[in-house]
Symmetry: none
Subunit: 216 residues, 4 copies
DNA sequence: GATGAATGAGTGTTCATTCAT
DNA sequence: TATGAATGAACACTCATTCAT
């Protein structure tokens, strides 16, 4: 099964308008979701906050869940876009990996409310929509996998396939941690400290591996 | 502010009975929450699944949220209990840390549904109840902090205070990862593989630090 | 497929209470349906008219359609009960058939609003519920079929099987006509006149058939 | 009160265009009504099925009810037209009456969906529009009244004024029966059988009356 | 202490109709 | 004339909670 982007049908025909209106709706929804969560936010609140009538809202989406999907989709697109703006994905070096992690953590920090929302509410998506969002998460992971692969290929890291995958997962999760454990982490570290320390913890072991030999 | 365990009032006087009944309610609730989530589960369903009338349910709790709090509390207690059964918290050595991580990951795996529920639904707790649950999470973190501290004190690890804290957080989160990313991780690794690899990634860097000098 | 009476589930356990409450709800619903039709009547109106809150209404039914089904069911039961009270179904004679038709027309006249409602709204029942109501209609038809059969057996009428069936249908429909064409019929005839004339038109031909020979 | 045809106002001036467009709308509406009923059919669906925008639909009608009126009107016109095509209304004989009934039943059979729609949905017309439709029904009845009158005048039937009226009603209703009881009748009879048997039952009594004397 | 019938505010969603373009 | 985006009143239905028995 190859998943593309899930199409959300609309009663409105003008594609440009759909894009525009949905953007406004998603923006309002994110703010409400981060305040009260998906379930505690009503469609009426979303309509009002985005400046439309409830009827108009439903011209652009079919159900409340569609909004959640659009929110998740939009957040992933936002993160990926910012990532691509700031890091070249063609290179492969330790320095580049460090840079990428730092950039990613920065993006997560900038969009912390959005990331947190998506992180906590995505589970409310139906069994139909969830795979599309998980796919996005895998795409994000793949960005770091590729980067690590290239760095391994350059001889700057010594990792097998499975280790690359897991390290990529860890990087992603350490970024998300910054949002979902912020109640604790923010008290202890600035973003810069957090970033520096996590880079060390994430990479220090694998970096020096060649010096000290493999573990089982 | 020092938080103790939050007291949930009951209309029933008999403490023993409260304990017993609540245990049954929580058990039923966990099963329902892990199937449908907190918001999609009704109090009627919880009452029915635990074998009580809706009226009786409300003799033992004040609100639906009380159940969520009791569920979270119960899950933490379960995890901590299992942890204490299997690891001595007085020692301090690399081997002990590895053992503790493995035990913790095993507990998380055994209780993966429960951990996932708590992880995803705790955010629905009111501003009043949330701190009590976050406190539990900090207590969990503290278990690993202490272990790391002792190991540092033994001279087997070289970490400053802040690194200990962050490493403890990472251990916790890597355990939770096993539940909230299981849609991906389970495809790639068995629990044993996951545990071994994460131990390596978590500890390898800090382990060999003395051999190679500090990073910035 | 043998259809019994369709069971409508209720959240309330007390069977007696269900019977009582549903009776009140059906009564209110009939009045509203005959005024505004099924689709133009809201569940809140039904709740209010029967003296319950909307929540209570839904303790006794699952959906608005359930009310329509209960209404139809109740009307059939009412008609059949009144019929059985007044005519013996064991006999078989021309006089008895005339009597039965007159009684049936009287019952229809007494319950004209109800009959009209059922007649016009039954089509709004779902494909699941409709067969149960059609079955009731066939049972009604069967009452007259049996009566005619017995009369034929007595030698007082000369009709083949198919003619008995059709005549029974015609009797039923002529009764219903009195409701759904009342805007016209009531201007022309009293119930007594209508009954007398229809009996003549329905039976005169078949009555005298023996005197005049068969038609093709 | 003399009712003519009810005028449905339109924002469009061109009468020819109104006729044309409304024809297309009515055609689409009939198909939708017979599938889902009037209340379950939306104006959007009607607009789409007739190939217009919702805006254009409302250029030709004022309200959804106008469509229902036009549909009813159109069905009556259709039935009447087909009737006039096939039977001469100037004659008066038993044979002609039989022929007319057969033709009418045939027309009803051909347009059974339409007849059923009109029959079941006309009640949803407002108190303002209903009389216009009932008038059409009376006109239909009048066709058979006239036919019977002429046959009585020819001495082929012996019926008083009131009996003529009621018999005409019965003929109409027996035609409609073929649609609204088709779930049962179609299983028992072909159209030809049904027609033949109903003609017998309708006319046999009155036919032979002269031979046998009056009933009370 | 236990029960379950009663409540009604609140929810997602629909749809006939309007009106600016 | 034709369009279709916008509207919001209205609807069926849910569910946490209460309280009389």
């Amino acid at each position: 099964m190859v998943l593309g982007r899930k199409e959300v049908p609309s009663l409105v025909k003008d594609e440009k308008l759909i894009e525009k209106r949905r953007g406004e709706m998603v923006k309002a929804a994110v703010n409400l979701f981060k305040e009260n969560g998906f379930h505690r936010t009503t469609t009426r609140e979303i309509a009002k906050a985005s400046g439309f009538s409830i009827g108009t809202l439903y011209e652009y989406i079919r159900s409340k869940e569609d909004i959640l999907y659009l929110v998740c989709d939009s957040i992933y697109e936002g993160v990926k876009e910012k990532l691509h703006e700031q890091i070249s994905l063609a290179e492969g070096s330790i320095e580049h990996v460090k840079k990428a992690i730092a950039v990613y953590f920065n993006v997560v920090d900038e969009m912390q409310d959005e990331v947190l929302v998506m992180y906590q509410e995505a589970k409310s998506l139906s069994r139909e929509a969830l795979p599309y969002v998980l796919k996005k998460e895998l795409e994000m992971t793949a960005i770091f996998e590729d980067l690590l692969h290239r760095t391994v290929a350059q001889g700057e890291l010594e990792l097998n396939e499975e280790e690359v995958k897991l390290l990529a997962h860890n990087i992603l999760v350490h970024g998300q941690m910054w949002t979902f454990r912020r109640w604790s982490l923010r008290k202890e570290y600035t973003l810069e400290e957090y970033t520096q320390m996590q880079i060390n913890l994430l990479l220090y072991g694998v970096l020096n591996r060649s010096l000290t030999g493999k573990t089982s």
